[in-house]
């Protein structure tokens, strides 16, 4: 039942080479123009079927994938957990096999558990695109972040990027660390000690994923000020309110005092530093409104580039032939 591994699946940034990442970004760059046309549609994926299989809530990512598919003329179908058979007791693999029997060309999957897209990729004939799996990866988010950074900084190599917040539970942080360090940036991470493991530098090593060698481009900082000082890019992660009960930090108010991004803190970064946030943001908690609404915040650019990135990913996942694919 297992099929050979194909590059058509996008399971994580970790599996990609720097050249493949740049290839996806360049393709996305060329799709941008379509999103500003009067008729925002090209016939490229006419007759292809894309299933958005979302086991977790999502507005932005699902909508973005759906718009991307529609602008390429693919037919997209959305399945969310509340309407799926999983609530009736079907296993994940059975659900995948049933979907597969309807011959989709691509399944975009989001799930609360790490590794679900990888399991689906083993049994499904469709190309699998990971739209977020547990705390593992969210590759299209990292790609759209990279596109935003490249657009505003002209490059990624050599940049200092601070990622602030709940690092340990964040698939956005993991995908971004993989991508940014592969493309030659230096990444600093910071947040409450309970959410930023001190030995994180050893856990993620892009060159040698099998060994626990320290990633020299990744640095765990003791406080947010240290991480932000001199940074070119400040990436703020969402504090997941649902985690508050787990006592990782005392209160949202206290989190905001110690780790919220204010103008004063942002002034420690380079003068032309940019601010990213994967959304949805909690104003006044991890990011102050004065920062979120400033010209340095590129949050809406991220959303805009998300469509182009997902068009590129869907194109590369379904456009190729079965012969060489």
């Amino acid at each position: 039942m297992e099929k050979p591994y194909r590059r058509r699946d996008l399971l994580g940034i970790r599996d990609l080479s720097a050249a493949e990442i740049v290839g996806i970004l360049d393709t996305a760059e060329n799709f941008r123009e379509i999103n500003s046309r009067e008729i925002k549609k090209v016939p490229t994926l006419r007759g292809k079927t894309v299933i958005n299989l979302f086991f977790e809530n999502s507005t932005r990512t699902r909508t973005s994938f759906e718009i991307a598919a529609k602008r390429l003329s693919a037919d997209s179908v959305n399945i969310s957990v509340s309407t799926s058979s999983l609530t009736k007791g079907e296993t994940l693999i059975d659900t995948a096999l049933n979907l597969d029997a309807m011959a989709p060309d691509c399944i975009v999957v989001r799930h609360g558990s790490a590794g679900v897209p990888h399991q689906l990729a083993k049994v499904s004939q469709a190309a699998i695109v990971n739209a977020g799996d547990g705390a593992n990866e969210h590759p299209t988010q990292a790609l759209l972040d990279a596109m935003t950074i490249r657009e505003h900084k002209g490059k990624i190599k050599g940049l200092e990027v601070a990622i602030i917040g709940d690092i340990i539970h964040s698939r956005v942080a993991r995908s971004n660390i993989h991508l940014l360090t592969k493309l030659g940036a230096n990444v600093r991470v910071a947040g409450p000690g309970t959410l930023v493991p001190r030995d994180f530098e050893y856990l993620i090593d892009c060159a040698n994923p099998q060994s626990a060698i320290r990633n020299p481009q990744l640095k765990v900082c003791l406080n947010i000020e240290e991480a932000i000082t001199g940074a070119d890019v400040v990436m703020i992660l969402r504090i997941q309110r649902e985690r508050q009960d787990a006592a990782y930090f005392p209160t949202l108010g206290e989190y905001s005092i110690h780790y919220g991004l204010t103008n004063d803190r942002l002034n420690l970064a380079k003068e032309d530093a940019i601010v990213l946030h994967p959304g949805p943001m909690n104003r006044g908690i991890e990011i102050a409104s004065e920062v979120a609404d400033s010209s340095r915040s590129l949050i809406l650019d991220q959303v805009k580039y998300g469509v182009s990135v997902r068009m590129a990913v869907l194109y590369l996942a379904t456009g190729g032939s079965m012969v060489n694919g």
Partner: protein
């Protein structure tokens, strides 16, 4: 090649009674420098530079599922509105006509030109056509066999200026 382009430029101007409302659109890749050169020549004669744009037809191809790995997508650049313009599509070689079909489809997604014409440097002959498409302006008709490949080499991409006929590699 230079003389053929000069002739194409004057034919385009003559046919359209000047350069007013002319919009030259190069088809990637080799139609792009050709369209640019035609624009230069038309400007030299008429004192007015026609509008100029670029089409990348990758997303409009009809063979996406058979061409192997995904072809590289490049950018389409039509800054000015093509509405009510006389669009002259420019490509290096006219063979089966499928590229031009894709270009026409894409063009129509951008607006409604008054007229669309086709200028090519080399026409490989009607017998190769797989669609009812003919060129309005032809630099040179070069009868070829399907077993041959014709390659227009331009200094922008190939360092030399030449048109060559090669045997298609077999196997």
């Amino acid at each position: 090649m230079k003389r053929a382009l000069s002739r194409l430029a004057s034919e385009i101007v003559e046919e359209n009674h000047g350069a007013d409302d002319l919009y030259l659109v190069g088809i990637r890749r080799r139609g792009v420098p050709l369209a640019e050169r035609l624009a230069d020549k038309i400007e030299a004669v008429e004192g007015k530079r026609p509008s100029y744009g670029i089409l990348d037809i990758t997303l409009y191809r009809d063979d996406l599922s058979t061409v192997g790995a995904s072809p590289i997508v490049n950018r389409t650049e039509l800054e000015e509105d093509i509405g009510n313009k006389i669009v002259v599509l420019v490509d290096d070689v006219l063979y089966t006509g499928r590229t031009i079909r894709a270009a026409l489809d894409q063009l129509m997604d951008f607006g409604r030109p008054r007229k669309v014409q086709l200028a090519v440097l080399i026409d490989r002959g009607r017998e190769h056509r797989e669609l009812p498409i003919q060129a309005d302006f032809v630099g040179k008709t070069v009868p070829t066999k399907s077993s041959e490949i014709i390659k227009v080499m331009l200094k922008e991409y190939d360092d030399i200026e030449a048109v060559g006929i090669f045997e298609r590699p077999t196997g």
